[in-house]
Amino acid sequence: MGGLNLRSVPRLQLVLSKFVPFIVIGVIFIVLPFIAPPYLQSMLTKVLIYALFAMSLNLIWGYTGLMSLGHAAYFGVGSYITSILIIRYGMDSFWLIILCAIVATAILASIFGIIALRVSGLYFLLVTLALGQLIYFFSLAWRQMTGGNSGIFGVPYPDLGITGISWNATYFYFMVLVILGICSYVMYRILQSPFGQALVGIRENKRRMRALGYNTWLYSYIAFIIAGVFAGIAGVLFSYFLKGTTIAQSGLTTSTIALLIVIIGSTRVFWGPIVGTIIVVLLEYFVSIYLPARWPMILGAIFIISVMFLRGGIGVNLLRLWGRVSYWYGSVKG
């Protein structure tokens, strides 16, 4: 599964295989809140938000080849900004808040990007880790704003500026779904564009890309910022979901869960992180019922299994399965 989908004339099968996963996922997500039991509702919303977070990480890791150990920094900042603006500054408008978060995470990512992209390989990992930890400890220390270890709570449902909405969990779920849909669409367009294809080229052979005329640093930098902004948007949604923000949102655990979600789902497939999120969040939910104290152990085991055995991730294997099914279907029909 290379990554580029440049075809001169799309054949029907290819068009279908490109869109079927989105249709399937879309249908599942629309139907789910109606068929799932009420105690699973909030978990579903969490899946949507984490899916967005994971897709933002996939943009920089799966597509551009830059693994970041501190991606939760933007998630946390987005979440903190939301909670702080609402609770400490009395801001109401959802649109204004999300705009602030986008601007703030863009600025943060543009600063961090300059620092991180000065090095590569191991050092890039360490720098992104350090930058993430910087945000974590900074948030911990700035107790008046962030509530430190206790966090900051009291965020109500979003104020969309539309009168007459009586919020409940299901409406919130659909709002998040719509935002996820929009963000996914934007990300998808970016990744299918010449810019996005260049990112794949950079991942595959940076040296060649430079010789071909691509300013690889600039591409990585822009991708870094875009990824940070989408993570920040996920953070905003999470703040409304959790009704506040805790220090965990910018912590190492959040960064590493995102990594796990992406590798399980497939780094090479656009909708891979969505599948990965469903699996991980679902798993976490059920483990928390039956073996609550053992979740980290199971999480760790999944990491190890993914690295040692699950080469490519589930998304890629699903695509292969689909390929075989449609091949079989074609040969049976013909």
């Binding site: 693994m67 090095v119 390989g121 191991l122 880790l129 400890f137």
Partner: protein, 288 residues
């Protein structure tokens, strides 16, 4: 002035712990290019095993060695079973060793519970001495002494012995070293195990000072990473220098700016990575 000395001594004490612990990380990073994020978990494990030995009546030093041995064995297993296959696959090393951290920490939680445990230092060292108007635990001076001895031993081992020469050669050119007929794999395993032993040992002797708790793996590991980056991977003197810088900065930081101490630590790390990634005294490790 006395307070200054106290903080300095605390800093050097912590530096010693960091030095013993970070050496393992430094060498595996320098020689094998392997980033083992589970090294912190070995520290924690060594401390807990030592705790068990100590509370069942064992002598303090026996406990420390036991902790080291168990950490060493587990380290060896990790290297043989997992890390060998991931040579030069940095992303995978990170993910895999992270997974190991989660598992090991959870096991520790299972067996030892969630609260911070402490081991009493050996009786003959368990008293304070007066420094100016303050008291300072003698045990911590002992740690510093151990550190000095360890440094001399390790420096001699790496710089003066054949094994050390192989290790250093391996850092510079792996293929060449193998080509010269050296059993590189065996050397790697030995080095890894010794490093893990040192980590576990350091874990136990650190408990009277910092205690042990199941979720300390990553925080102590991050300290060690900063040490290794600042001092330079693959260098004994470098690790010493890094440990001193970080240990003393941390002690003073925690004394005077407690909330921003950790923050400062990471700023130091980032500054170092940008200015001179190979550290103060390190060899350059491979990059892509």
């Amino acid at each position: 002035m006395d307070l200054l000395i106290i903080n300095l001594l605390n800093g050097v004490c912590f530096s010693t712990i960091l030095f013993l612990f970070a050496m393992g990380l430094s060498i595996t990073l320098g020689i094998m290019g392997i980033l083992n994020l589970a090294h912190g978990a070995l520290f924690m494990l060594g401390a807990f095993i030592g705790l068990t030995v100590s509370s069942s009546g064992g002598n303090f030093w026996l406990a420390a060695i036991a902790g080291g041995v168990v950490a060493g064995i587990i380290g060896l297993v990790i290297e043989l079973v997992f890390l060998r296959r991931l040579y030069k696959q940095l992303d995978d090393q990170v993910l895999l060793t992270l997974g190991l951290v989660y598992i090991i920490e959870n096991i520790a939680l299972w067996f030892y519970g969630g609260s911070v445990r402490v081991v009493q230092p050996p009786a003959f060292l368990d008293f304070p001495i007066a420094i100016g108007g303050f008291t300072f635990p003698v045990y911590r001076l002992m740690i510093i002494a151990i550190g000095v001895i360890a440094f001399i031993v390790l420096w001699w081992l790496i710089d003066k012995t054949r094994v050390g020469a192989i290790v250093r050669a391996g850092m510079d050119d792996k293929e060449m070293t193998i080509g010269l007929g050296v059993n590189y794999g065996l050397t790697c395993s030995i080095v890894f195990t010794v490093g893990a032993f040192a980590g576990g040992f350091a874990g136990l002797i650190a408990t009277p000072v910092i205690g042990v708790v199941f979720n300390m793996s990553m925080s102590i590991l991050l300290y060690a990473l900063i040490v290794v980056v600042v001092g330079g991977p693959g260098s004994v003197v470098g690790t010493l220098v890094g440990s001193l810088v970080i240990g003393i900065t941390d002690a003073f930081g925690k004394a005077y700016f407690p909330s921003f101490a950790m923050f400062t630590m990471y700023v130091v790390l980032i500054a170092m990575l940008l200015a001179k990634p190979s550290g103060i005294l390190g060899r350059k490790i491979w990059e892509d």
